[in-house]
């Protein structure tokens, strides 16, 4: 970058800190690479869009937004006190961009900002779909179901997570994401307070995936269900 952005000191400090990219955890990295390697086993295919939120999920997202706003405000308050304990001078609001000579862009992939990328409409996960036509299609369908389950678990909707998990088990009994599915099932069961079932599911997980990177988390979930699920 050759131009100095005309930012206030506060924003510059925030941007400066953001430039340090935090490393992923070993487990996250391992999981991402394992999934990428598994995807290489299928023929290359065009990208697909994620699934659509249903009505109740939007309400939950709105509720999450309220919680999120409170959290960000707390972080901002903390930062404010640390970074700028004294009363700040007014921040500069004018922003100018220095034009620099540049070459013509090499390629054009988006015509304008309103033009959507070529994506196919996903079908709702809850509706039974016809059998996948190819391995790539099956992979994407698996991803969609697991994404839905994971999002439900992340927002504490454990009952909502069970439907996509069951659907995944029905359609992809031995799919490539079965390990993740079973870990999510343990978490959802524990979150629902179905402790005994969670323990049994964790035992099956341990037997089936003895070297899984998810095993420590699965064991913890089934041992202390409420504490681990954030309830």
């Amino acid at each position: 970058m050759t131009t100095e952005p005309p930012y206030s000191l506060e924003v510059r400090a925030l941007l400066e800190r953001e430039r340090d990219i935090p490393p992923l955890s070993a487990a996250q990295r391992t999981r991402a690479m394992a999934r990428a390697r598994a995807a290489l086993a299928t023929p290359a295919a065009p990208m697909v869009a994620p699934s659509r939120a249903t009505g109740p999920r939007r309400w939950i997202a709105a509720a999450a937004a309220l919680v999120a706003s409170a959290g960000v405000a707390a972080a901002a308050f903390e930062l404010h006190g640390r970074f700028w304990p004294a009363k700040r001078a007014p921040v500069e609001t004018s922003a100018t961009v220095e034009l620099r000579p540049a070459s013509t862009p090499k390629s054009t992939t988006i015509e304008n900002e309103a033009a959507p990328p070529a994506v196919e409409e996903p079908r709702p996960a809850a509706i039974p779909a016809p059998p996948a036509r190819s391995k790539a299609e099956a992979s994407r369908a698996e991803l969609r179901l697991l994404r839905e389950a994971r999002a439900a678990v992340a927002r504490g909707d454990f009952a909502g997570a069970m439907a996509p998990l069951t659907e995944h088990a029905r359609r992809f009994k031995n799919g490539r994401l079965v390990e993740e599915r079973e870990a999510l099932r343990v978490k959802a069961l524990a979150g629902l307070g179905r402790t005994e079932e969670a323990r049994r599911a964790a035992g099956s997980f341990r037997a089936r995936f003895p070297r899984s990177v998810l095993l420590p988390a699965v064991s913890k979930m089934s041992a202390t269900p409420r504490a681990q699920t954030g309830d």
């Binding site: 941007l15 990219i21 990295r29 960000v72 308050f77 921040v91 390629s107 999002a151």
Partner: protein
């Protein structure tokens, strides 16, 4: 090394950057894994067209932007995601805590900027990508890069100021 192996190797090298870029583009922590896989699938499909003499990050960011944009259009969510993450209860040194708070505030401020402008700002002002590369990666004219950047900077200033004012004790 086959094309698939080269693509996988590139994906592995830039995994941290990719995950962070997806977060900057407003992807929820619970969805980053899946979107990163979609980026990988798209990268793999387009790998033969990728000019390997050009830097990878802008190219990867362009793919991540298109996938994140498609995702946003479908979900139409406007959740400031940072605090939906699982809370980290481990004791953290002050500078680590400060960095986390800085990131939370910046991500929240970025959330308030429309995605096409946010992408330009992130690429240019955070990643340090030259304007020409931004234009090439996002498939827009350079003039559009400049105009989006100008507006996005004002929006970022305003969003940060608002967040700080909201947090200031009355």
């Amino acid at each position: 090394m086959t094309a698939d192996e080269a693509c996988l190797d590139a994906f592995q090298r830039e995994l941290d950057y990719l995950y962070r870029s997806l977060r900057r583009l407003g992807t929820a922590p619970s969805e980053v894994d899946d979107l990163a896989q979609e980026v990988f699938l798209a990268l793999r499909s387009s790998w033969p067209e990728y000019d390997q003499t050009r830097p990878l990050r802008p190219y990867l960011f362009g793919i991540a932007f298109r996938i994140a944009a498609a995702h946003h259009r479908k979900w139409r969510r406007e959740v400031a995601f940072e605090v939906v993450e699982m809370p980290d209860t481990a004791p953290a040194p002050d500078d680590v805590l400060l960095a986390k708070q800085s990131r939370a505030v910046l991500l929240s401020a970025l959330e308030r900027i429309p995605l096409p402008r946010r992408a330009v700002l992130v690429m240019h002002d955070i990643d340090g990508t030259p304007v020409e590369e931004v234009a090439a990666a996002l498939g827009i004219p350079r003039f559009t890069v400049y105009s989006r950047l100008r507006k996005a900077r004002r929006e970022l200033e305003s969003a940060v100021r608002k967040l700080m004012n909201e947090a200031r004790p009355q």
